[in-house]
Symmetry: C2
Subunit: 249 residues, 2 copies
Amino acid sequence: MIGQQMASSLERRSGVSLWRQIADQILHSIAAGDFAENAALPPEVALAERYGVNRHTVRSAIAALVQDGVLRAEQGRGTFVQSRKRLSYPIGARTRFSEGLQGQASERRSVLLESAVEPASRRVAEGLGLAKGSTVIRLETRGEADGQPVSRATGWFDAGRFAGIDAAMAETGSVTASLKRFGIDDYLRQSTVLSARHADAADLADLDLQPGAIVLVTVAVNVTPDGQPIQFAETRFPAERVELKISAL
Amino acid sequence: MIGQQMASSLERRSGVSLWRQIADQILHSIAAGDFAENAALPPEVALAERYGVNRHTVRSAIAALVQDGVLRAEQGRGTFVQSRKRLSYPIGARTRFSEGLQGQASERRSVLLESAVEPASRRVAEGLGLAKGSTVIRLETRGEADGQPVSRATGWFDAGRFAGIDAAMAETGSVTASLKRFGIDDYLRQSTVLSARHADAADLADLDLQPGAIVLVTVAVNVTPDGQPIQFAETRFPAERVELKISAL
DNA sequence: TGGTATTTGTTCGTATGTATC
DNA sequence: GGATACATACGAACAAATACC
């Protein structure tokens, strides 16, 4: 229930829109502990009646809270309070997927979704120190922790030097293990640039997110200990499930 | 114009909502170079007519693109293509506001918005290594580059050790300079945790953002060279204007 | 298995408020 | 003050997904 007395006071033409006032009340209601995690909210029509507004107005409020990752709406089922515990993914000199989440999730794995051989874009060529248009291998992978998607990476490798890394990746499910087959026993994170945006349609599907979800985006170059670039990668992390902990580089 | 022939083909009951199809077409249209940065889109009624849909449907499409930071709608003026060049803010062992943006903006400054003395929350106390409820000084600052807001920080200091740092900050406009007055000639970034979310109402106003904008959030602890915590800070960066470059720690 | 009720998602129509030029 | 354009709100209907019997 959204507070029996609480729901009363919506002020019209107060300078604050009704949908925002409703969103705030729902938010407070959740913060006050009226709803457990993953608990269902009353249906839209019920909320509309309770607040004395049109269903659209309630929907605007819910949409805003879905954007904020507070609620999660599922067609045909209802609207639920989104659980918000985040994994902490370390970024440092020796960033490795599986090791990074050790202790936070019992089962961690990396799944190869797709691979392709293609000419390098300018961005990729610069990152790998190759000529633009050089042939590179692109690997699309998804990281999972306890069955839930926590990252979606696109990595590029020099096709000349790492021919067959796609097969190795499919077999081992690990970049580190795959690189070992090419004589790379160690590699370091040279640079990381971080940004954030809304997930695009593809990432929404791959990461099992609701429209409007935010992804943290890292663009990184991994190099051999002597500084030779071996991998250029862009990784998207769902902001509602992951935070990035920057450790010593 | 949104492509003369392009605008034709909306597929109804195709499983993809009309507003999303329209959003995609507008996006392609921008990517194709039909609009310069900050150029105005045709008004909503014109777009609605062109696509043969209700104005609401166009509004849904525009709202989605505003969320993505692609467009910017200004009441009474129109809808514009958002410019997307980002400052690159370095995060490393010696992260300092002004130095970090050197070379990217000719004028950089930090403005003290508010200060207060208050008991430390559990989070702040833990970060500073103080007892919960210890008195701390909170400084609210905004970073600007060439007059545009690029960061919004909330910093906490031990009130016992740094009494008067609020005045120093107001006077110097620099954390580094203020700390010098307390005998701190050097400090290091001990830890940084990074996340992302939608800007709340206060940050929207302080950073001059449109509703739905995304902020990158860093939570950091600065320490003296011998490891003593001196500052705990949460900083919000507008994701549409800033990217974070992780340099050597 | 199938049909019905429930609940969210989409679309159209209309009216009014508010900010800008 | 008037015209233009985005913002908010209400009403109605149907579609799509899910739950339940």
